[in-house]
Point group: C2
Chain length 94, copies 2
Amino acid sequence: MLAAFVTIKVKPGSEEAFETVAKALVAKVNADEPGCKLYQLSRSDQPGTYHFMERYVDQDAVAAHRASDHYKSLGREMGQYLEGPPEIVRLTEV
Amino acid sequence: MLAAFVTIKVKPGSEEAFETVAKALVAKVNADEPGCKLYQLSRSDQPGTYHFMERYVDQDAVAAHRASDHYKSLGREMGQYLEGPPEIVRLTEV
């Protein structure tokens, strides 16, 4: 199983708008990607900081996620609210 | 739902010993903690760096995890292999 932990910082005041788009993406991924076993949005205790926890059965499932229409369109929509690029920690489950 | 992302650095050469104890802890948590919905050990692409992804139904489940015999005994056993204290990002799911 592969996993990722993504850190996202949003522009001050964009929290609500970001959450709306991010939650739409979470719903789509969980509904349409059988190879994705976890796609969860969380808030940290640092202001304006969010994280995605993600788990995929294999590399094909990761590729399917990145190639999906919902990832491309909602990812682009989220982009306007971000302060800098997301940081991604890529993981292999033990 | 509450979550945590833990970063652990192990002493060079301790990877195998650490994994043995950490996997025993993962097995115990998944078998004995109904309030813990994910407890997963992963390796990052940085040498000697591991992560736990954790999800709990509520704060009581987090407290039960910390109070458990397996967490105390295996956590102490893991300690000898660590290079410095674990870093913990505490999360609230959106």
